[in-house]
């Protein structure tokens, strides 16, 4: 994921075969790879941070309309998606120690569960958006154009923020699927798991974004 590429994998495999010389010569830059991932995640913090800033300013300005609009969101579905995403973070977190303990199949199962939960999350999101659009609430719809300014801003932010978050979930699912494939093929193993590690960091970050989105959109009345 971070350009440590196929070399370190090959080196790690030769290490496993007992060549300690190779290990001394080409150490896996675990810390560097992880730091690269963290730097990327910090840019993501500022990216979503900007959106949360816009949300806060307009919520302070149009608090009544924000509260009224939020009543139209399905609180049960929002809560269910929170539980789903938190659980998927658990399965992702467990995949690493399981792999390192040599329980490859359990780790694969754990990664598969994460993908499954991510897809369920997206399916719920799809159902939710379909319902809003069915009610005529979507950007530039005749209904929305006639809404008050505060309501238009609320629903626009809702679509942009949950949409960008859902895009992150989709990308996360795709990357975990790739990592699952590499683990099954033995390219990611108990001595070289940085790709799984960094994918996990990304997934947990996406979870953190949802932790804030959930109360800010679903729990205001």
């Amino acid at each position: 994921m971070n350009g440590d590429g196929s070399h370190s994998v090959k080196e790690a495999e030769s290490t496993m075969e007992g060549s300690e010389f190779a290990a001394e010569k080409h150490r896996i830059d675990y810390t560097g790879a992880k730091m690269g991932m963290w730097i990327f995640l910090l840019t993501e913090v500022l990216f979503f941070g900007g959106l949360f800033l816009v949300y806060s300013v307009y919520r302070a300005k149009y608090s009544g309309e924000f509260h009224g609009s939020a009543a139209g969101l399905d609180r049960f579905l929002g809560t269910a998606n929170t539980v789903i995403l938190l659980t998927s973070s658990l399965t992702m977190a467990l995949a690493i120690p399981l792999l390192r303990a040599g329980k490859k199949h359990l780790s694969l199962l754990s990664q598969g569960a994460t993908i499954f939960l991510g897809i369920i999350f997206l399916a719920n999101k799809y159902a939710e958006w379909t319902e809003h659009i069915g009610h005529g609430i979507y950007p530039d719809s005749p209904l929305m154009v006639d809404m008050s300014r505060g309501r238009i801003i609320f629903f626009s932010l809702y679509y942009v923020m949950t949409g960008l978050h859902a895009l992150h979930v989709l990308i996360g699912v795709a990357i975990i699927a790739g990592v699952l494939f590499l683990t099954a093929r033995g390219k990611i193993h108990r001595y070289d798991f940085i790709k799984l590690e960094n994918t996990g960091l990304y997934w947990h970050f996406v979870d953190v974004v949802w932790i804030y989105l959930f109360p800010l959109f679903y729990l205001i009345t």
């Binding site: 790690a12 290490t15 300690e20 290990a23 150490r27 896996i28 675990y30 810390t31 992880k34 730091m35 963290w38 730097i39 910090l42 913090v45 500022l46 941070g49 900007g50 800033l53 806060s56 300013v57 919520r59 302070a60 300005k61 609180r75 809560t79 929170t82 539980v83 938190l86 659980t87 973070s89 658990l90 992702m92 977190a93 467990l94 690493i96 120690p97 399981l98 390192r100 108990r190 001595y191 590690e197 996990g200 960091l201 947990h204 970050f205 979870d207 953190v208 932790i211 804030y212 959930f214 109360p215 800010l216 729990l219 205001i220 009345t221």
Partner: protein, 99 residues
């Protein structure tokens, strides 16, 4: 030997499950608090609970607790920058007349 060089101290599986249970409990709490109609305080309570949840995810699931200090400083600086941006924007918006 290689494994030691990778310097990743994992938590025990049990720890991850306990953290997950705490996250679920906090989710129930934040939904329950939203029903109380705390009006002006509701948003601060919601953000406080979300921040505790995020903290649990970052410290345990992303195991920042076991990471070198440089990563902790990096995260701190990014969050400080975000806090300053929010503070400056709000001070700007608060002192504007009209739009």
């Amino acid at each position: 030997m290689i494994e030691e060089e990778l310097t990743l101290k994992e938590f025990r599986n049990k720890t991850y499950v306990i953290v997950w249970l705490c996250l679920l409990a906090l989710t129930v709490l934040t939904v329950a608090v939203a029903r109380l109609q705390l009006a002006d305080y509701a948003v601060f309570v919601a953000i406080a609970i979300a921040t505790v949840k995020s903290g649990l995810v970052v410290i345990f699931f992303m195991h920042l607790k076991n990471e070198p200090w440089i990563l902790k400083i990096m995260l701190f600086v990014a969050l400080l920058a975000l806090a300053l941006i929010i503070l400056l924007t709000f001070s700007d918006v608060a002192y504007r007349k009209g739009h």
